[in-house]
Amino acid sequence: MTGAPRRIWGLMYRHLALYRRSWPRLLELTYWPVLGMCIWGFTATFLSRRLGAGAAVTVSALLGGVLLWEVCLRSQMGVTISFLEELWSRNLGHVFVSPLRPWELVAALISMSVIRMLVGVAPAIALAWGFYAFNVFALGPVLVLFFVNLMIMGWSVALAVVSMILRHGSGAEPLAWSVLFGLAPFSAVFYPINVLPAAVRPIALALPSAHVFEGMRGILLDGVIRWDHLSWAFGLNAIWLGVATMIFARQFHQARVRGALLSIGE
């Protein structure tokens, strides 16, 4: 392996070695998805018992929403936390004076985000199947497209957050944990978009995630694959990722103008 793939692997190796030596970090990857699934799983069990068999499909949609939202959230946090690890270890100066290109840095962060997401969500998927009789793979092959869209949206938000950290330094760190939760009400994770007030529906329709969750409910509630929503999700993701990339490129350039790559984190 040489050139760009090797440099990308170099940065991934740095993070994988870190996880090998830090069990709290490894535990943290699975802790929140499993905790979330426990809470929503018991809630779903309670609702099933109160409302009877007719609620089973709705309950499935609830658990599907929990799992797929974690895919988006963990993908976003996978990029931002990996970037923050470099900042916390005061290693960015060495990374940025190596031949690693900015796009290779992003590629490494995204690759780590995929690994972190899979490690984090897999136990929650197993828990949903084993304890709450919800098999997310019953969504069929289209599940892969849902995953892809939610991951891309997570990466777009993450690039914007990393840009804010480059711009504002450590003060922007809390965005890594909080920003996606601000989009959750508009993402229609647990309810259809038409439940939202008419005034905020345009916001929901501009989010790739809202189309993914509409698509998921289409399969679980109506047995229909909503290709229209999937197409919207892909189209919007192209725009989101394009805009996020431009913001990142701009802020990276500005960081080199201001000298922030030297002082970031202080």
Binding site: R14, A17, H94, V257, G259, L261
Partner: protein, 260 residues
Amino acid sequence: MNQPPNNVIEVHGLVKRYGEVLAVDGIDFAATAGATVGLLGGNGAGKTTTIAMLLGLLLPTSGSIHVLGHDMLRDRFAALARMNFSSPYVSLPQRLTVRENLRVYGHLYNVRHTDERIAELSAELDLGALLDRPAGQLSAGQKTRVALAKSLINRPELLLLDEPTASLDPDTGDLVRGWLERYRGETGCTILLASHNMAEVERLCSHVLMMKQGRVVDRGSPQDLLDRYGRDDLEEVFLDIARDRRSASRPGVHQDTVPA
């Protein structure tokens, strides 16, 4: 402008302004292959800013920088692969072992046979007992040796060192200087060294750039500077310049190119 082919560093009219603050004020210098150039000056003189611009971490307000024949404003990655940097103010990941840290940088610098290179550096810098220890558990002197190993991992043709022996005891500092001399002797590497240790500069540097308030206010070999200021050591010359105590007895040799 045609660049002389053997100039490893070529800087012209370099300016860095942060709003109203002029951190670097139009400096010019060049260094030929094999030269060791000392960048001296008080805190805030512009040394670190100059090094950051040479590394591409910081964009100049104006001026040009060519390193190893590459324009750092347009083609910095080609040069970055052939140079390296060490500073006590930039850390390596603390939880990774020394070996893992060196492997990371072996990958980032595309070093062939990384593990063999780590073994070589381990023998040269006496890192054998440290290789499998987390970087965060090392003493200051051990960290400096590891940082030096990281900066030599790609056999750089140009080494930028920001206070490489800061906070080291005299013994370790002397060992580090010895390693740098040996590496330079074996490879013909060019070294740019920012330091507050005047004895270190006198020992290592073939040429010195004295910086003050963002400008190069004097330059020459350590002996030239001692002769011109009529002093016995560079520390006195440094103080003369920093405090405007005494001028050089004759004008400095303002040659822009630093010979090896």
